[in-house]
Amino acid sequence: MSRDDVGILACGAYVPRARLPATLVGGAHGWFSPSLKKAGDGRRSFCNWDEDSVTMAVEAARDCLARSDAASIGRVELASTTLPFADRSNAGLLREALDLPDDANLSDSGGSLRAASAATLRALENDDGRAALVIGSDCVETKPASAQEATHGHAAAAIVVGKGDPLARLKGSASLHQDFVDHYRSAGERFNYTLEARWTRDAGYRQQTRDVYARALADAGIGADGVHHVAVAAPPALAKAVARIVGATSVIGSELAKQAGFCGAAEPMLKLVAALQSADAGETVVLVSLGQGIDVLVFEIVKPCSSRSLALQLESGADETNYCRYLALRRLLGLDEGIRAERDNRTAQSAAWRKHESITGFKGGLCTACGTLQFPQSVVCVNCGSGHTQEPFRLADLKGRVRSFTEDWLAYTPSPPLIFGNVGFEKGANVMMEFTDAAAGEIEVGMPVELCFRIKDFDDRRQFRRYFWKPFPPRGASDG
C-alpha cells in the first residue's frame, strides 16, 4: 500500500463556547501568585458542566462527518487522556451517538499527549480498506492558581482517513519515544504535576526534536526549505521554542493558543485541522507532536478544506465573567446545591439498553403510514393510530425551532437557570428538551436551534453519567 493511496479526506473541530480569560484568573489569584497578573490578554476554552471528552469528540466528529460519508467509517480511533470511562468503550458510546456502522473497529487510546498523533499515523500507514475516523479530545482540569490554569484548554478535533479525493497526504514521518517525565498525572487524579519548563525544553526536546524532525524530512524526501508551515503541539512556551529549534518560518495555530489554549491530547489534531483549513494547495505542513517523545508528520496539502469551522468556533466564544462560576461548573468548587440536588440519578441500565438507539442516537419513530415523526418512538402512532408502523428516524442532525421555553430557577441544575422547552422539528415532531450553552435571556420563541450531544445527569453515588441531546442557539461570531 502506497502512502499516496490514502489521505485525509475530511476534518472538523469542536471548541467549547465557554472561555476563561487570563485576566479573570489573574484577578482571582494575583494576591497569591503575582506572576498570574501578567498572564496576558488571552483566554482558554473550558467545558460546560455537561461536556466531557466524549461529548466534545462527538461534536468534532459531526463537524468532520458533515463533509464526509459516515456510512463509510470502518474504524474509530478516539484519543484522549481524560476519557470518562476506564471500562466501557468510550469510542463505542461515540459510535452510537454518531450512528456509525456497528461493525466498525473501535479503539480508545490515551496515556500520552501523543495519543492522537500516534493514532493518526496508525490510520495513515495501516490502511485496512475502510475509512478511519481519528479524534483527539481532552479536558484536563487545571489546578487553581497553577501556571496552566489560564493557558490549558479543552477541545476536540477529528479527521477522516481513507481512500478518495484527499485534502492532504502524509509524505513522511518519524517518531521517538523517551520516558521523559516533564509532567505526569497518575490514574484517577484530576491535576497534572508539572516540572520546570526550561528543563523540559533543554533536556527533553531541544536536540531530540532536531533529530526526529530531520529524520521525518528525509523520510518525506524534502529539505528544510521545502517546508511551508510548522505546527507544534505543545504548551505555548515549549511550542514557541520548538518552532525556533526547527527553524520554522511560518507557524500554524497562533489563534488556537490565544482563544483556546493548549488542549492536551487534542492539540495535535487541532493543529492539523488548523493547517488543513488554512494552508494552500501544494504547501507542505509539518506537524510536531510532543509527549514522552516526539512524532513528526510531514503532510502535503492537496486541496484546502472548504470549511473554516475551527476559526469560526475560536471566534465565537463567550468570556466567563465570574471566576467562581467557572470553578463550580468544572466541579473545582463545591457549592451547597441544596436538598433538591440530592435526587438519586441512578440509571436503570436495562431500560437504557432497551432505549439506547433512541437516547444515544436520538432516533424517533417515523410512521410509515402517515409520515408523522414522533419521539420517543412508540408502538401506536400518535397521529393516525396505526400500530407497529414506525421506523427509526434520527433527529440529532435536524434543526429545530423553539415553540415554548422557560428559565427555571427552582429546578436543580449545576448552571441555573434550567432552560427547557418544547422544540419543534420537521415532519410534525415536538420534543420537550433541556437547552444548553444559553444564558438567561438568550432563548426566544421561534428561535432556530441545533442539537448537541451532552451529559444529561451525573450519578455521583455510582460514578456514572448519562447522556442525551440538547438544543442550543447557533453560535454566531458576534458572541465573542
Binding site: 432497551r354 432505549k355 415554548s404 427552582l410 429546578a411 433541556e434 448519562r466
Partner: protein, 402 residues
C-alpha cells in the same frame, strides 16, 4: 350515548381541614379533621358508609400506598377502600369513584377522601422525584412552575399579546385570589397582596414570579355522597347534586406533535365539552355562577378561562383585567382563594374545590357568600401542559321533594 351521571348522586356532607404548613399534623390528623366535619354535616354514623375512596398522589411522601391509610386513620369497619391516583386530578378522581359506586347501586352511601402531606421534605416547592426508568433518560429535570411557565411564552407568541400585558393580567389573577383567600379561615395564605407585589416578586420560572405560583401546603378534604332517594329518606329537602364528572387524559399528542401550539390545555377543552353536555349546559358564559379552576399558576388560570369556554380565544387577558372573574364579576373564580391561597396538597385539591362550590350553593360560605349561585364548576389539571389529566365537575342544586 350513555345516560351519564347527572342528578343521580347528591352530596350528603363535606369536610375540609385547615390547609397550610401543618407541622402539627400528618396525613392521619388531616384526614380525621376533614372527616369529622363531613360526618357531622351529613348527620350519619360512620357505620352507615358502605365504601370509600382515597386519593393520594405522592404515596412515598408519608401517606403510603393502598386504601390502608384511610381505613386505619378513620378505623373504618373493614369496608372496601380503594386508593386512586391521577396526578392533580386525584381528589376529583376519588370523588368519581364514590359517585360512580353510588350511581351503580353498589353502595348507598360512599366516602371520597383526598389528602396530601407535602411539608415533610425539608425544602420548598414540591417533592423532588425521578420520572421513572425510561423518562429520566431524556426528559428535562423540570419543575411544575417551569413546565407551566411554557404556557405563557407560547400564549404570548400564538396570540401576539405583549408579555407585559400578559404579566399584568396574571398579576390581577393572583391579587384577586388573595383578596378572596383573605376572607377564608381555612386558607393557607390569608393576606391581600398588590399588583406591584406580584410584578416585583423574585422570578421562579420565567415569566412566573413567586406570586404567580400557588403555595405548597398540607391538607385533606372529603365528601360523603348518596343517591337522592337516600338523602330524601334522611330528611333532606334539597341537596347539591353532581351534574357532570368528566375526565380527559392526554394521549401523548401534545408531548410529541407540533400540532398542539403550547398555548392552551387540550384536555380541559375536551373534558369541558363533555361535562357541559352531561350537565345540559349550552352556554357556560351565562349558565355558570361560580368556578373553582386549577390555578396552580396564574397563567394556568388565565388559559383555562379560554379552555372552559368562558372567554374567547386570545381574550382572557382582557376579561381578567375587566374583572369578569373577580368576586363581584360575572363568574367569580376561586372565590375561596383557590390553589393560590390554599396551596396544593395534590390529593385533596379537587375535593377542596368541590367543598367551596358545595358551601356556596348551600348558602353557607360565610363572608365569601355569593348571591344565590345555583350552578358551579370545578376543574383540575393534573400533570403539565404537554401531558396531563383534566377533570371537569359540575355541581347544581337539586330539589328532593318530588
Amino acid at each position: 350515548m350513555a345516560r351519564g351521571i347527572r342528578d343521580r348522586v347528591v352530596i350528603l356532607g363535606m369536610g375540609c381541614s385547615k390547609f397550610g404548613e401543618r407541622w402539627d399534623a400528618g396525613p392521619e390528623e388531616l384526614m380525621v379533621e376533614a372527616f369529622d366535619e363531613a360526618l357531622g354535616d351529613a348527620g350519619i354514623e360512620k357505620s352507615q358508609i358502605d365504601a370509600a375512596w382515597l386519593g393520594v398522589f405522592f404515596q412515598e411522601q408519608s401517606t403510603g400506598k393502598s386504601g390502608l391509610p384511610l381505613s386505619q386513620a378513620l378505623r373504618l369497619p373493614n369496608i372496601p377502600v380503594t386508593r386512586v391516583e391521577n396526578l392533580c386530578a386525584t381528589g376529583t378522581e376519588s370523588l368519581r369513584g364514590a359517585v360512580y359506586a353510588v350511581a351503580a347501586g353498589a353502595a348507598d352511601i360512599a366516602l371520597a377522601m383526598g389528602v396530601e402531606k407535602l411539608k415533610d421534605t425539608g425544602f420548598g416547592g414540591l417533592p423532588e422525584r425521578t420520572k421513572g426508568a425510561t423518562e429520566d433518560l431524556w426528559l428535562p429535570n423540570s419543575t411544575a412552575p417551569g413546565s407551566f411557565a411554557q404556557l405563557a411564552s407560547a400564549y404570548s407568541n400564538v396570540h401576539k399579546r405583549d408579555m407585559n400585558d400578559l404579566k399584568r393580567a396574571m398579576a390581577h389573577i393572583s391579587v384577586k385570589s388573595h383578596r378572596n383567600g383573605a376572607l377564608n379561615p381555612k386558607a393557607h395564605l390569608q393576606r391581600e397582596i398588590s399588583e406591584d407585589d406580584v410584578l416585583n416578586a423574585p422570578m421562579v420560572a420565567y415569566p412566573l414570579g413567586l406570586y404567580d405560583c400557588c403555595g405548597v401546603s398540607d391538607g385533606a378534604a372529603c365528601a360523603i355522597v348518596c343517591t337522592p332517594e337516600v338523602a330524601a329518606k334522611l330528611g333532606r329537602r334539597d341537596a347539591v347534586a353532581i351534574k357532570a364528572l368528566q375526565l380527559a387524559p392526554s394521549n401523548g399528542y401534545e408531548l410529541t406533535n407540533d400540532g398542539w401550539d403550547g398555548s392552551h390545555t387540550l384536555t380541559t377543552r375536551l373534558a369541558a365539552e363533555r361535562a357541559y353536555a352531561e350537565a345540559g349546559i349550552s352556554d357556560p358564559k351565562t349558565e355558570l355562577d361560580v368556578m373553582e379552576v386549577h390555578d396552580c399558576f396564574s397563567i394556568t388560570e388565565l388559559v383555562l378561562m379560554e379552555d372552559l369556554g368562558v372567554s374567547e380565544p386570545g381574550r382572557a387577558i382582557d376579561d381578567v383585567l375587566d374583572g369578569r372573574y373577580d368576586y363581584d364579576g360575572a363568574i367569580p373564580c376561586q372565590i375561596d382563594g383557590g390553589l393560590k391561597c390554599f396551596g396544593h396538597p395534590i390529593g385533596a385539591s379537587g375535593l377542596r374545590m368541590a367543598y367551596e362550590i358545595y358551601l356556596q350553593l348551600n348558602g353557607r360560605a360565610d363572608r365569601r357568600q355569593l348571591d344565590a349561585p345555583s350552578t358551579g364548576l370545578a376543574q383540575n389539571l393534573g400533570g403539565v401542559p404537554n401531558r396531563n389529566v383534566a377533570s371537569v365537575a359540575i355541581y347544581g342544586l337539586t330539589d328532593l321533594k318530588g
